[in-house]
């Protein structure tokens, strides 16, 4: 049971490959780290894995049946910039409950205060917004989470607590998590296995 990317290749400008012949596999309940330099294609790879964009070469497959229109996708992507992933004209309650209704227990685990629900996104800090993005990604249908630099806007204490809660939930529900980050110390603390985009990029050159 796994999310599998086979022979992935991607570029923005023709023939300037960000990466090519990249194989990646994420199984149920596994925590995989993806590291790499800025501009090495980490975010593009995460968007490909989450089916937001099509790779130029290769394909992504999962064992589950494809999500029907209107259903939550089994692969959920959490973005680097929460302020870009949230509709600025919705109050936070609508943002949170767009796809399902999270219970109070999970809000508490991520430290989301009730008073934030009636605010607009602009009235919350980046770290506060990111908690909403994490909770809404934990839909009951979610099988894989792609976390693209999701904790850079958090202070160290919050970062520690949020990763612990998120990974605990993912282990309970056997969700596979791909953690994309350039922070080596963080990745080595959190992940079972780490792949580096820089190394695979070099292989292409060889």
């Amino acid at each position: 049971m796994a999310l599998r990317g086979t022979n992935l290749g991607f570029y923005y400008n023709k023939n300037e490959w960000l990466f090519r012949n990249l194989n990646i596999e994420l199984s149920y309940g596994e925590i995989l780290g993806i590291s790499g330099y800025s501009g090495s294609g980490k975010t593009s790879l995460s968007r490909i894995l989450a089916n937001y964009i099509e790779p130029i070469e290769g394909f992504v497959e999962i064992d589950e049946k494809r999500a029907a229109k209107g259903e939550a996708h089994p692969i959920q992507l959490i973005y680097q910039h929460p302020e870009k992933a949230i509709n600025p004209k919705w109050k936070m309650k609508e943002v949170l409950e767009e796809s399902y209704e999270p219970d109070d227990a999970i809000l508490e685990r991520f430290g989301i205060r009730k008073e934030w629900l009636s605010r607009y996104p602009i009235e919350l800090s980046g770290g506060e917004l990111q908690r909403f993005c994490i909770v809404r990604a934990l839909h009951p249908n979610t099988k894989y989470i792609i976390a693209d630099e999701i904790s850079t806007m958090l202070d160290a204490v919050t970062q520690t607590v949020i990763w612990r809660e998120l990974l605990d939930i993912c282990k309970e529900r056997k969700i596979g998590v791909a953690i994309i980050s350039h922070e080596a110390a963080l990745i080595s603390r959190l992940c079972d296995r780490i792949i580096s985009l820089d190394v695979s990029a070099k292989k292409i050159g060889a």
Partner: protein, 270 residues
Amino acid sequence: MKESKQILSVENLKICFTQYVKGLKTRRITPIESLNVSINAGEIMAVIGASGSGKSLLAHAILGILPGNALCEGDITYCGQPLTEEKKIELRGKEISFIPQSVNYLDPLMRVSEQVKIGLPKKDADKQQKELFHRYGLKEKDGELYPFQLSGGMLRRVLFATSIRDNIKLVIADEPTPGIHPEALSTILNQLRAFADDGAAVMLITHDIVSALTVCDRVTVLKDGKTIETTMAENFSADGRHLQHWYSRALWNALPQNSFSVHEEVEAWL
């Protein structure tokens, strides 16, 4: 010895927002209650604290770019003079330089090279912009791209390049480093150090304590809109026993480089 001339001093800063609840009924929230921070010439002051503790608001208050429903009290002094709203407008972008937190501050419809040229002297704007790109490891042809075509880390470097001007006396960097790989990171930190060594005062707002410590002189810790501690950078070492406040110690110990753990008492507060 470094010069000790005070460039910026913020005393008892209080910021509150008026919100409309229903119809004409309003309510007030006070995210910043009492902030104190002062920075001398030639000094880098790191400002750290929980997310939502008012770090960005502090920066925006100094620059005079708070939203219209904000009310700001307290004394902000710049080079010995009160920093009034008119002064802020006059000085920002000239003597006071700002590196915003969100890459959303870039114009999505403008090529990034053009955005870096804003405010540079017309004559050699082209040349300076190319030099800046080179210094921060951006390719010349990246300048032709629009913000959506660049990665998060590259956008950071573009934002940083927009802040480099002559005659800067005060630099306010609001989390300039997330998403940047180690080499570009040290370029940026060294640039901040160079600002300070040239006599500017630098406020480095950040979560990345470890990187900040490599260049900063002092650290101010914020929590719930209050200054809880200002301390020398070297006190952030070992198990943090030289730090006064328990929250400063908690921040330090929670780093993945340190014990990556949070005490139960700290969590009760969360």
